[in-house]
Assembly symmetry: C2
Homo-oligomer: 341 residues x 2
C-alpha cells in the first residue's frame, strides 16, 4: 500500500518550541470515502497562530492532541476523488494536515483559481493572511485618508498587506520590523512612509513618536509586548487598535506582564478590538477579488519565503519566532504531478 509522511505533535512545548516537540512518522496513505478526495500537498503553511494550538487550552479552536498529526493550511492537488465537485488534477486549498497526503471532505476545500495568481499565493496574499489583513484593516481598523496607520510585523504575511492597503486608503503608513533588510523592503519597495527596526532601536517609544508626528489613528497589532507598549502613548482620540496577533507573547512560560494600558482608552476613547479571519468566511471571495486586482494593477506587492522539503516544516515554523521570514513563510512539499494547468 502506498505510504505518506506526517508531522505529529510529540509533546506540548514549554516556552519556545524545539525539534523534540515534532515527530515525523510514516503511515499508510489514506483512501477517500464518499464525498472525499485524496490530496497531495504541494505547499504547506506555517503560521504564528499554530503556537496556540500546541497549548492545552481552550481558545477559538481546539488544541492539537499529542501523538496526532498537526493541522495546517495546504495547497494541494487532488489525486483521487469520490466527490462530484472535484476531479484528479484540481488544485485546492484548505485546512488539512502537516502531511504529504491527506484525505478531506470536498466541502471543506476551496478550489484555487489560477487566474488570480500563482497557486502558492493561496496560502499568503490571496489566502488566510491576505484576507485577515483585508478585513482586519478595512472592517475593524477603518482607515480614512490622512490617517496615520502603524502596523507591527510589517514585513510579515499579514502586515505587508495591511500596510499597502492602508496606503491605498490614503493613510500615512509606518511599520515595525526586525531587520534592516525588512525595513528597506518596506520603505524602498512598498513605499511605507517610515519603518522602524525595533531590534536596533533603544528608544522605541521615541521612534514611534518621531515617525508619527500627528499621532496614531490605526494601530494594527501583530506582535504585542514592548512594540505595542511603544505605540500606545501615541494613540489619537477615537483611534482604533486592531489586535490580530501577539507573537511576542506566544512562547511565554509565565503570564506575560506589562504596563497597564486601559487608562489611555478613557483619555482617547480609542477602541481596541480583536480580529479573527474565520469571522469573514462569507466575505472571503470579496477580499480575494480585490486583492488580486490590486496585485494585477501593481498596487500590491508580496514576498514568499519558501523552505524546500516536507522534512523541513518544523524549521520553517520555528523560524517564525526568530523573524526569519520576509513575507509569507511556506514549505514546498511536492511539485504538481500532472500537466493539466
Amino acid at each position: 500500500m502506498a505510504q505518506t509522511r506526517q508531522w505529529r505533535l510529540a509533546s506540548r512545548p514549554v516556552g519556545e518550541p524545539t525539534h523534540d516537540d515534532f515527530e515525523l512518522v510514516t503511515v499508510d496513505r489514506p483512501a477517500p470515502g464518499d464525498g472525499e478526495v485524496l490530496v497531495k500537498t504541494l505547499y504547506q503553511s506555517v503560521d504564528p497562530y499554530m503556537r496556540g494550538r500546541m497549548r492545552d487550552a481552550e481558545s477559538y479552536a481546539d488544541p492539537w492532541e499529542v501523538g496526532e498529526p498537526m493541522r495546517a493550511g495546504v495547497i494541494g492537488e487532488v489525486l483521487e476523488s469520490e466527490a462530484d465537485a472535484l476531479e484528479p488534477g484540481d488544485v485546492v486549498t484548505g485546512e488539512l494536515l502537516w502531511a504529504e497526503h491527506a484525505v478531506a471532505d470536498a466541502d471543506d476545500l476551496r478550489r484555487v483559481d489560477p487566474d488570480l495568481g500563482p497557486v502558492s499565493t493561496a496560502l499568503g496574499v490571496l489566502g488566510m493572511p491576505g484576507v485577515t489583513a483585508y478585513w482586519g484593516l478595512l472592517d475593524v481598523g477603518e482607515p480614512t485618508p490622512g490617517d496615520t496607520v502603524v502596523v507591527s510585523a510589517a514585513a510579515g504575511a499579514v502586515g505587508s498587506v495591511v500596510g499597502q492597503l492602508a496606503q491605498l486608503a490614503g493613510a500615512r503608513v509606518v511599520g515595525t520590523a526586525g531587520s534592516d533588510e525588512k525595513v528597506a523592503w518596506l520603505t524602498d519597495e512598498l513605499g511605507f512612509d517610515a519603518a522602524i527596526n525595533y531590534k536596533e532601536t533603544d528608544d522605541l517609544a521615541g521612534a514611534v513618536a518621531e515617525t508619527c508626528p500627528d499621532g496614531v489613528d490605526v494601530y494594527f497589532d501583530n506582535v504585542g509586548g514592548p512594540i505595542t507598549d511603544a505605540v500606545w502613548p501615541q494613540l489619537n482620540v477615537r483611534s482604533r487598535v486592531v489586535v490580530c496577533g501577539q507573537i511576542a507573547l506566544y512562547n511565554a512560560t509565565e503570564v506575560p506582564t506589562g504596563p497597564r494600558k486601559l487608562t489611555k482608552l478613557i483619555e482617547t476613547r480609542a477602541t481596541v478590538e480583536g480580529v479573527l479571519v474565520s469571522d469573514y468566511e462569507d466575505r472571503w471571495g470579496e477580499a480575494l477579488r480585490r486583492l488580486s486586482r490590486f496585485i494585477r494593477e501593481g498596487d500590491l506587492h508580496y514576498r514568499e519565503n519558501v523552505v524546500d522539503g516536507f522534512e523541513n516544516a518544523p524549521d520553517a515554523f520555528l523560524g517564525l519566532f526568530e523573524g526569519e521570514n520576509v513575507g509569507k513563510q511556506l514549505v514546498k512539499v511536492a511539485d504538481r504531478s500532472t500537466e493539466t494547468q
Copy 2:
C-alpha cells in the same frame, strides 16, 4: 468687602494625596462681569477623575495649577446676576471651583430642574455620574436581554446606576464592591443577581467565574487593576468592555503593570472602548429625562453620602480612594438662602 473661601492645590501629590496637598484660603468674593453670575455653592462634588487633574500631564482636560483653586462640579444658588438668563435665587449646576462662592459665565451653567428630583441629585444620579452610566452602558456597552453584565465599583455613583440600567435592559447583573454593607445594598435593595466583596475574596477570578456561569457579555470597568484581571478571562465572544474609570491605578507612583490582556481579544473579538461623558454633551438632557423617569417609577434607586462643611472637602475626596462612599460622594457647603423653591 464680602469674603469667601477656596480650596487650592498646594502641591502635586506623589502617590496617595494627603491633606498637605490642599490649602484653604480666604479671598475677596468676586463680582460678576457682564453675562456672568455670582454663585453660592450649596453642594460640591468630589470625583475620582480629579486625581488626574492634580497630575502635571496632558489628558482630556488641562491639569490644575499649583497655587490655584481646584475645579469641581457644583450645585449653587445665584446670588447676583449680570446675565439675562438667570436671576438671584435660581439653582444652577456647572463646573465651578472648590469654593464657597464663584463667578461663572451664565452660558456655562445648567439650570437645575427641581421637578426631576432633589437638587443634590444634579451632581449624582441626575448629573455627571448618571449621564456617564447611561451613555457608557447604553451607547458603548450595549447590553441585550440575557446578557451578563459585570460592573466594578458597583456601589459607586456611576456603578450603581450602570447595574440598575443593565437590569432594566434585561441583563443579569453582577457587581464588585469593597464592603459587606455595599454588597448587601446591591443584592438586597438594588436586586443585583450577585455581588462580590473583592476585599474579602481570595480567589477573585474564581468568584467571577462562579457568579457568571455563562461568561461576561459586558464589563463596565470603573476600577481597573486586579478586579479587571479577574473579569477578563470570562469575557465572551463579541463581548464589550467599557473603560470608564481606573481608580485602582490613579495613585500609582510607578507605571502600573499587570498581565498582558490583548490575546484574549483575538480569541473573543471582544471590543474595549473608553467612555468620557463630555462626548455626550448634546445628549445630556435625553439621559436626564430617562433617569428621572426611572427614579419616579421606582426602577432606579440611589444613595448620596454627604459630608457636611466646606472645610471637609479634602476628607471627602480622600475617602473616595478608601472606598468609603456608598453612592455619590457630596460635600454640603451651605443651605439655600432664599425661600423661592
